[in-house]
Subunit: 326 residues, 2 copies
């Protein structure tokens, strides 16, 4: 029941769902219980004493832990005989997919369904005290659509998450892991590398806006950064090498006879890309709810905002340069 | 009369000073004239038709251009026979110091004094429309105290800038250039290198907080980034190599047998440094206004907030971990 799990607990409860939370930390459980008692009656949640107690009567289990804890939680969920749908919010998807294949599907019990998920809603704050039931409004939430994923499970979860205001992005686990390595995991590594610069007191005093923003996520827990990046090491190495290639290029530019002109030429394309980002929403339209259509939408940077009641179509939007602002 | 020069024009006018602005761009001059006419009578400024017109009757000339324009402006100022005090707000100081030595002091006219300056108040917005007379309130403003700097000139300028609410930081040009390379110029290069990642549409859609903040200053004009970094190439290369050394270390960590543990150990010290930054204000105290005392203060990360009326002492503060928040 940290930032993501706790916010989801509160968002689902506010949406009228019956929700039970559990956390390894007794103090967090106590805090969540107190907060539940203070919430309006119609949007209260429960806090259980164990994972087994939480999952026995549930339709859906959401695992909202660091990657390092997922294997243990899956074992507990399988051990409790859970046969509903499992999702997670871990920021890397192939390793969780592998754990599910080994731990959940190999448990010899009734089979639970699994759809990997990842809401792009992380912040540098943490813990139940930082939770916000509106955290997912407008946020991009990847739901993985892999070979083994049941489309019905995927659509059921997409329906639930779009009801919280999330923009659900269909992607394979592999495509997800490469994309987030580039736009989420490597930014954390750059922030940490940059933050070492304030060792000198004069530098610490002169550090201002560009340093503050460039290092903000170095304030994230090192455990979280390590779990994200170390748990996605292959794609992160690829994305890091791409950035280091850019830095090698600007190193050459700085050493050239015309450093100002060379740095300007180097910075131009990224400046244009960043100034145009993010694109806004294109006009929503109906798409057939097939894996091919959904994955093509996701590769184009698109998302869905609703699933039709018969599950045959989805409401889809794509980013366009002059679209409605995000 | 861009972000810094225009904000200073307005701040000085609001402080009761008689201020004349000039800009290369006729549209900016027209905008500044219109804004002056709409300002309260007691805090209006003037806009001149040429550099010579602006400086003839002035006590102080502030050069608020990119580095690439400084030589031309210095020639104009010297050509107009200006013999008062010159300062600048360029983000790199050794190159301006060299230009002053060659252009201003070698002009064979009456000698103008020079004190290099740099307010740490940059933003990704630009132009007169973005100006703000309160921009310098609480901002760290380096004033360079080099071998050839007149202490009287330095104190006169420090008195003026502290009256605008700036925290004036004494430093040599060389120490300044190394510090800002690490905490301001390299962050711009990392932002640009990172911004190239949104070439893939899926990545552009999944990019969220860490990407937004880590690339914010890639929105700065490429000319400005090039002028800052290319104009300070030596110190920037040193600082860039330090960051790339950190990235090499995390590359090794990601390739190790225990990537999660190794990344966690790597990220720990920078996380602590960033979480503790910035320190707050220590208790203000009086210091003798001597170059040695001032430079020692600056090396410790300290600043001054006032100059005594007789110019013999300054009010100084140092950053301390549990100090009054900045």
């Amino acid at each position: 029941m940290g930032l993501i799990g706790g916010s989801l607990l509160r968002a689902l409860a506010a949406g009228g769902h019956w929700v039970i939370g559990w956390d390894l930390d007794p103090a967090t459980r106590a805090m969540a219980r107190t907060a539940a008692a203070q919430a309006p009656k119609e949007s209260r949640w429960q806090v259980s004493a164990s994972i087994a107690d939480a999952v026995t009567t549930a339709d859906l289990v959401v695992i909202a832990t660091p990657l390092t804890a997922v294997a243990h939680v899956l074992d507990e969920v399988a051990g409790a005989g859970f046969a509903g749908l499992v999702t997670d919010v871990v920021s890397v998807k192939e390793p969780v997919r592998e754990l599910v294949a080994r731990r959940l599907r190999g448990a010899g019990l009734r089979l639970a369904g699994y759809v990997g998920g990842h809401p792009m809603a992380g912040k540098e704050t943490a813990g139940f005290a930082a939770t916000d039931p509106a955290l997912f409004h407008g946020c991009a939430w990847v739901l993985c659509l892999d070979q083994e994923t049941s489309l019905d499970d995927w659509l059921a979860l997409a329906r639930l998450l779009t009801s919280l205001g999330a923009r659900v992005v269909p992607a394979t686990s592999e495509d997800h892991d490469h994309a987030v390595a580039a736009v989420s995991h490597v930014p954390h590594l750059l922030a940490v590398a940059l933050a070492t610069a304030i060792g000198e007191p004069l530098a610490g005093t002169l550090a201002a806006g560009s340093f503050r923003d460039g290092t903000r996520v170095a304030g994230s827990a090192p455990e979280l950064i390590a779990s994200m990046c170390g748990g996605n090491a292959g794609p992160v190495l690829d994305a890091l090498d791409a950035v280091m290639g850019q830095l090698d290029d600007v190193r050459d530019a700085l050493e050239s006879d015309d450093p100002i002109g060379a740095v300007r030429r180097w910075a131009g394309p990224a400046h244009t890309a960043r100034t145009n980002w993010p694109y806004g929403w294109g006009a929503p339209r109906q798409l057939p709810a097939s894996p091919d259509h959904l994955l093509a939408l996701g590769r184009d940077g698109g998302w869905i905002t609703a699933v039709s009641s018969d599950g045959r179509t989805v409401t889809a939007a794509r980013p366009v340069p002059e679209g409605r602002p995000l």
